[in-house]
Amino acid sequence: MEDHILLAHGSGGILTHELIRDVFARYFANPYLDDLGDAALVGELPPGRVALTTDSYVVQPLFFPGGDIGALAVCGTVNDLAVAGARPLYLTAGFILEEGLPLETLERVVVSMAETARTAGVVIVAGDTKVVDHGAADGLFINTAGMGVIPPGVDLSPAYLQPGDALLINGPVGDHGLAVMLQREGMGFGSTLKSDTAPLHGLITALLDAIPGQVRCLRDATRGGLATVLNEWVTSSASGGPGIEIEEAAIPVREEVRAACEFLGLDPLYAANEGKVVVAVAAEAVEAALSALRAQPLGQDAALIGHITSEHVGRVVLRTPYGARRILPMLTGAQLPRIC
């Protein structure tokens, strides 16, 4: 086999077949994929509503502390299904490869995807590969689509939020955003920091089972971070959503993340996460929800961070440790480090 991806790997000829056989089919191996038909025939689905989602992954660097683009492409899509209340079942994976990409790099990514999918209990049932000219892509892009089923009785939506509902998060925020940024920019500090990339559906299933009917809605706090999720919730309906109040001191942030943010002038509340879910539950279910989350490996540091309020409708307000209140707005543009 060649050492690098060539345009011919995307031509549909011998090299394409070798690539599929020696990399994709080899590591993703499952009965659906092994047929190599034009469509995966997954058969009957369990009872419930079908959920579909898709997401594209273009992260740089491809490998970062705590994860890589492959693990991310599985977890991101699994989590999008999970926060809708769905049990993730099947994924598809589309690869856009840049001519000249070392084959070894692709193999590492595919191995990571396969391992992550196995851990998450989902099957990659269909795939596609395209190769573009050198310079037309940044190494490797992945698109994944996911299918899952929302069991009967589970119904989550920001429309169900009510004043008094409690807001929880399953652990410290900002790990992924800062880990990737420090790695990408080659900053020689924060070397212990790792991305939190992880599939969340196990944690979410445990929560939904522990307090049936009491979870209002869930959202994974990816791009734009915790602050963005909360802002999406308060502007979720045309008539204006509820208001949200959160306690700055209650939001878990890892020491290394805080330090890096202080240093660079960033706000961890806007930094990306890939293994954090924001949870809204009925007020009376707070303790049970926290116990259920904390009993899971990915929820040990779960915390109550705020609540839904009928005040300041359509706005997220943060209470500082000094008792002052300030608006936590949507992020505009990219977060950039300050000059001095």
């Binding site: 020491e255 805080r258 440790p321 000094y322 480090p337 300050r338 000059i339």
Partner: protein, 364 residues
């Protein structure tokens, strides 16, 4: 977190706030004690921690011109954008500069139409780009005060030492004391005291502000950037104002010495000479800028790419200049929040994270 949490202790902050209100009540005056925080970093912290709300009505805080992006003249920015458009040029700068509107677009716009504009975190990163692209000419768009300029000087001297020929600087670096003096000379806003810039003073030394009590009879407290740093500086200023005593008070002794950082000062002197500079909102202030020394003229982008600076019209209604001189607060501007927001900024004070308008918009 060590060195952070100690300076954010809510109980101690509360004690300061009570004390400040108590001291301020002993002063007879029709208006609140009005202090100017020179530095945009202070403005940001004051907004972020909600200190303005907690100190009202005893103390009123006015933002000053201490945001390097904001005081960059539109004409200078136009020049930088024109340089970025020159074929073969890679323009490197800090991220904050990318979205600042010049008279015809931003550096992001220039990048969108094909100019090679790169965000770096340090001038040394730009030097590295120069090493990797020997066929291209790397222009660093340098903005910033005494704090940022020594790093730039170090990169220039490194380029000299290593013989990297394709690295130059468009120096828009500025010095802070002349701008402070310009505000007081103009007399547009009555100020009772100045919160001195902590990071700038770490380089210049607190002695750089001695002219404030000596010539203008007002106190200056050099402050750090954590809530307790700022509150202790405000507390010291309020006491000085009530007692009618003017002096320079260093409340940031863990970072600032009276004589400053001599190594950094020497670096500055080796690379730069003091020159006039064009400040947005002020116009040209004598002896307020840093131009490259004659010995580094071959690295002066202004000479290498002689682009005529044309006067740039101000956007209609934008009052960034008045905000930068402390004449108004951001909410006094008719465009604030209505037309001008971080998403569609009209003026630079809404762009930079250190800009007063952005801080008010974000937090207040």
């Amino acid at each position: 977190m060590k060195y952070i949490d100690e300076f954010r202790d809510p109980a101690l902050a509360q004690q300061w706030i009570v004390q400040i209100h108590r001291d301020a009540a002993r002063r007879h005056g029709a208006r609140p004690i009005r202090l100017m925080e020179f530095c945009g970093g202070h403005t940001h912290a004051i907004s972020r921690f909600g200190l303005r709300e907690l100190l009202a009505p005893a103390v009123e805080l006015r933002s000053g011109p201490g945001c390097p992006v904001c005081v960059t003249a539109a004409a200078d920015l136009d020049r930088a954008i024109a340089m970025a458009d020159v074929p073969g040029v890679i323009l490197a700068t800090f991220g904050d500069m990318m979205r600042v509107p010049g008279s015809a677009g931003t550096l992001y716009d220039a990048r969108g139409r094909g100019a090679d504009v790169r965000i770096v975190y340090s001038p040394l990163d730009a030097l590295e780009i120069a090493r990797r692209h020997p066929q291209q000419s790397i222009v660093f768009l340098g903005v910033g005060f005494e704090t940022t300029a020594p790093g730039m000087a170090a990169a220039l001297l490194q380029a000299e030492a290593d013989g990297v020929p394709n690295f130059s600087l468009l120096s828009l670096h500025k010095l802070t004391p002349p701008a402070m003096r310009a505000i007081l000379e103009a007399g547009e806003v009555a100020l009772d005291g100045i919160i001195g810039p902590g990071h700038v003073s770490a380089i210049t030394g607190s002695a750089a502000w001695e002219f404030l009590p000596r010539e203008y009879g007002i106190p200056c407290a050099v402050a750090g950037f954590e809530p307790l740093d700022i509150l202790s500086a405000i507390g010291a200023l309020v006491r000085a104002v009530v007692a009618g005593e003017a002096a320079v008070i260093n409340t940031y002794a863990r970072g600032v010495r009276p004589q400053g950082n001599l190594v950094a000062q020497q670096l500055l002197a080796r690379a730069f000479a003091v020159a006039p500079a064009d400040w947005r909102g002020f116009g040209v202030i004598p002896d307020s800028g840093l131009a490259l020394r004659q010995t580094l003229a071959h690295r002066d982008a202004a000479r290498l790419f002689p682009i005529e600076a044309r006067p740039a019209p101000q956007p209609t209604g934008c009052r960034c200049g008045d905000v930068l001189r402390g004449v108004i607060t951001p909410t006094d501007c008719a465009l604030f929040r209505r037309v001008c927001s971080p998403r569609t900024p009209v003026g630079p004070c809404m762009v930079s994270t250190e800009g007063a308008c952005a801080a008010y918009f974000q937090y207040e």
